[in-house]
C-alpha cells in the first residue's frame, strides 16, 4: 500500500466558509498511535480513558474497560454500526495513463461516488486528472471520472462499472483501508473495524467505539446500561491538502436511524437517562434529526450539519470520543459540550501524561 507521507501539499484558495479551530496545542509526533493496541501488547479495551465531568469540573484518568464506573442504569449508549470499507483502491487511467490511489469518500444517491484521487508520482494532484477519464482497477472493475465536486474541489464524482453487492464484493477483493502517514504498517482491515460493525459504507473507521469488546458490552448491559444503534457512513477525514483541511469543509455524510433506535432514544430521554454518543458521528446524526425538544425520528438522509460552540445540543447529553488533532474540525464539535478553555486544559494534561491520539489511540469521555 502506498504511503503518502512524502506528498507535498498544495495551497489553493477554496470558496468555503472558514472555521478557525477553537484552540490549538502542540501534539508531539510520538503521541500518534502507530499500531492498534492489540499490536502494542494491550487488550482492545485497555486503552486509556480521560473522563471530563463537566458538572464537577473534574478530570479523571482511568482505563477504558472501567467505563461502567462512570455510567448509571438508564443511560443509553448510542453506537454507529457502519462498517469500514477498504476504501483505498489502486487504479490506472486507460489506456496507459497515470496510475493513482483512489480513496472513496461518499456513496451518492444516484449511485455515483465522491472520491479523492491521488497521483502515484510527483504532485498528487497534477497528473492530468480530468473529467471523462476512464480508470481500471482490475477484477473487471472500471470507473469513469465524471466531474469535480462543486463544494470540495479535491473530490471527484465518479461512477463504477458495477454497483450494489457486486461492487461491494469487488471492493473487498481489491481495496485496503485508508491509511495515514503516522500509522506504522498497512494493518489488515480487521484492525479498522469496531466489534459491532455491520453494514459497509465508511471511508474511515468510526473509531470512538473501537475499544469496546463484547465482554465490556455485555457487562454494561448487565449493569443496566441500554444500547441503541444507528448508521452514519463516515467520509474522509483528510483531503491530503493542508490548506483545504484547515478550512474544515463541512462534509456530507449519509445516515440511517431506525424506528427501534428512535424509540429507545425518546424513551431514555423521557425517563431521565443520559444519551451518550459513541463518537462524533453519532452526535452529528442525532443532532441532524433532533427536534427542538430533543426527540428523534427515524429516518434516512444526508447531513452537512456543522457542530460548533454555537450549536445547542438537543439530543445528546454526553460524548465518548477519541483525542483530536490540533486544528481538527472535531475540536469544534467538542466546544458544543464544554468551553474551549476547559478542553484545552484537559488536552494539555493528556499530552503531559502521554495519551495517544488517532484511530488506534486513547479515549475521552465527556459527561
Amino acid at each position: 500500500m502506498s504511503n503518502y507521507s512524502f506528498i507535498p501539499h498544495r495551497c489553493r484558495p477554496y470558496p468555503l466558509a472558514v472555521v478557525s479551530a477553537p484552540f490549538t496545542f502542540t501534539l508531539p509526533p510520538e503521541l500518534s498511535a502507530k499500531e492498534p493496541p492489540e499490536r502494542r501488547g494491550l487488550a482492545r479495551d485497555h486503552v486509556r480513558l480521560m473522563v471530563i465531568e463537566r458538572a464537577k469540573r473534574a478530570v479523571t484518568h482511568t482505563r477504558f474497560d472501567r467505563l461502567g464506573q462512570f455510567l448509571r442504569g438508564g443511560d443509553l449508549l448510542v453506537f454507529n454500526t457502519s462498517r469500514t470499507l477498504p476504501a483505498s483502491l489502486q487504479a490506472c487511467a486507460a489506456p496507459a495513463g497515470p496510475c493513482m490511489e483512489i480513496r472513496l469518500a461518499e456513496h451518492l444517491p444516484d449511485d455515483s461516488w465522491l472520491a479523492l484521487l491521488l497521483c502515484q508520482r510527483g504532485d498528487p494532484f497534477a497528473c492530468g486528472l480530468r473529467a471523462g477519464m476512464q480508470v481500471e482497477f482490475g477484477e473487471g472493475l472500471t470507473g469513469t471520472i465524471i466531474e469535480r465536486d462543486e463544494r470540495i474541489q479535491r473530490l471527484w464524482r465518479m461512477r463504477f462499472s458495477k454497483s450494489g453487492p457486486e461492487l461491494i464484493d469487488v471492493l473487498y477483493r481489491l481495496g485496503r483501508p485508508v491509511r495515514y502517514e503516522y500509522v506504522s504498517a498497512p494493518w489488515d482491515l480487521d484492525y479498522y473495524q469496531t466489534v459491532y460493525a455491520r453494514e459497509p459504507g465508511s471511508a474511515e473507521m468510526p473509531s470512538a467505539g473501537r475499544a469496546f469488546t463484547w465482554r465490556l458490552l455485555f457487562n454494561l448491559k448487565r449493569q443496566g446500561i441500554d444500547m441503541a444503534y444507528l448508521v452514519l457512513h463516515t467520509t474522509l477525514s483528510s483531503y491530503m491538502d493542508d490548506e483545504l483541511d484547515a478550512l474544515h469543509p463541512a462534509s456530507e455524510e449519509e445516515y440511517f436511524i431506525n424506528a427501534t433506535t428512535a424509540e429507545k432514544l425518546n424513551r431514555a430521554r423521557a425517563e431521565g437517562g443520559r444519551i451518550i454518543a459513541v463518537g462524533t458521528t453519532v452526535v452529528r446524526a442525532l443532532e441532524a434529526v433532533a427536534e427542538r425538544d430533543g426527540r428523534v425520528r427515524a429516518g434516512h438522509g444526508y447531513t452537512r450539519l456543522r457542530i460548533t460552540s454555537e450549536h445547542k445540543l438537543k439530543a445528546v447529553d454526553a460524548l465518548l470520543t477519541g483525542l483530536h488533532e490540533p486544528e481538527a474540525s472535531h475540536l469544534d464539535l467538542l466546544t458544543a459540550f464544554l468551553p474551549a478553555e476547559q478542553i484545552r486544559e484537559a488536552y494539555e494534561e493528556a499530552v503531559r501524561l502521554g495519551y495517544l491520539w488517532h484511530e488506534f489511540g486513547d479515549l475521552n469521555l465527556i459527561l
Binding site: 450494489g164 461491494i168 464484493d169 460493525a197 448508521v231
Partner: protein
C-alpha cells in the same frame, strides 16, 4: 410454509449437498433473503434457479468465496450485510472440507492439508460468527453449526475432519455460554450419513443408497432457523433420529453457569 417469513439467512457451502437442500427449503418456507456462499459459482447458479422456483419472493445473493482464506470472510459478511441492510437472522455454517481422499491416517496426514481442513471447518465458522454477530444482537438470531458423529467419536481416517468437528462442537458450547442472555442462540446439528459428493468421495467402497438424501434432513434446520426454537441455545441435534435425538419436553437450552 412461511415459517421463515422475514428472515435474512446466510448459508455456507450452499452449492451442493445439504447446503443446496437448505437453500431450497428455506426459500420454500418464505425466507426474505438468502445469501448463498460457495467456492464455485457454476453450481450456485443451478441452485439459484431451484431456489427461485421454490420461493419466487426470496431475494437471492450469490457469493463465490473460498472460506479457508480468512480475508474472504470479511468480504462475504460485508457483501451480505450490504444487501441485507445490516440485519442477519440466521447463519448456517455448513461448508466443510473433507481433506485428501482416500482418507489418510493422522500419522500420514500432510500438515498443509490438516491446516486447510481446520481453516475451512473451524476457523471459518469462528470468524463468520464473530463478524455476523453484530447484525444479530439487536433483533436476536440463530446460528446453526453443522457437525458430524466424527465430532464426538474418533474414526480411523477421518483425522482432520473429525478433529475440526470436535473443535466446532466445543466452540459452539463456548459461544452458547458467552451469548447467554443475548437473544442470539447457537446450536449444532449432526445431519447423519447423507448421500453427498463429499461422503461418496470419502467412502467410495460404501453403497451411497443406504444414506439419506440431503432433502430428508432439512426439517430440524427449518425448526432451528425459525422462531419456534428461540429458547434453545447450546444444544446438539441429530437430524435422522427420532425427535432429532432430543427427549420429549426438553425445550430448555443449555445455559452458562454464573
Amino acid at each position: 410454509m412461511n415459517r421463515l417469513q422475514g428472515k435474512n439467512i446466510l448459508i455456507t457451502g450452499a452449492s451442493r449437498g445439504l447446503g443446496r437442500s437448505l437453500a431450497i427449503e428455506y426459500a420454500r418456507e418464505g425466507a426474505a433473503a438468502l445469501s448463498l456462499v460457495a467456492r464455485s459459482s457454476g453450481h450456485l447458479k443451478e441452485v439459484s434457479e431451484r431456489v427461485r422456483e421454490a420461493g419466487p419472493a426470496t431475494r437471492l445473493l450469490l457469493i463465490e468465496a473460498d472460506l479457508q482464506h480468512q480475508e474472504e470472510i470479511e468480504r462475504v459478511v460485508a457483501t451480505t450485510l450490504s444487501e441485507f441492510g445490516g440485519r442477519l437472522d440466521v447463519l448456517v455454517n455448513n461448508a466443510s472440507a473433507i481433506g485428501p481422499t482416500p482418507l489418510p491416517y493422522l500419522l500420514d496426514y500432510p500438515l498443509e492439508d490438516f491446516r486447510s481442513v481446520l481453516d475451512t471447518n473451524l476457523i471459518a465458522p469462528f470468524l463468520l460468527i464473530k463478524k455476523a454477530l453484530p447484525a444479530m444482537v439487536e433483533h436476536g438470531g440463530s446460528i446453526i453449526n453443522v457437525t458430524s458423529d466424527a465430532g464426538q467419536t474418533g474414526y480411523p481416517g477421518w483425522g482432520a475432519y473429525g478433529i475440526s468437528k470436535f473443535g466446532l462442537e466445543g466452540m459452539s458450547q463456548t459461544w452458547a455460554a458467552e451469548l447467554d442472555g443475548s437473544d442470539v442462540r447457537i446450536n449444532v446439528v449432526d445431519p447423519g450419513e447423507m448421500n453427498t459428493a463429499m461422503h461418496r468421495a470419502a467412502e467410495p467402497e460404501e453403497d451411497p443408497n443406504q444414506w439419506a438424501s440431503p432433502e430428508e434432513v432439512t426439517e430440524v434446520f427449518v425448526y432451528l432457523a425459525s422462531d419456534e426454537s428461540r429458547h434453545l441455545n447450546g444444544q446438539r441435534f441429530q437430524a435422522q433420529e427420532e425427535n432429532w435425538g432430543r427427549k420429549e419436553g426438553s425445550n430448555e437450552g443449555k445455559r452458562a453457569e454464573g
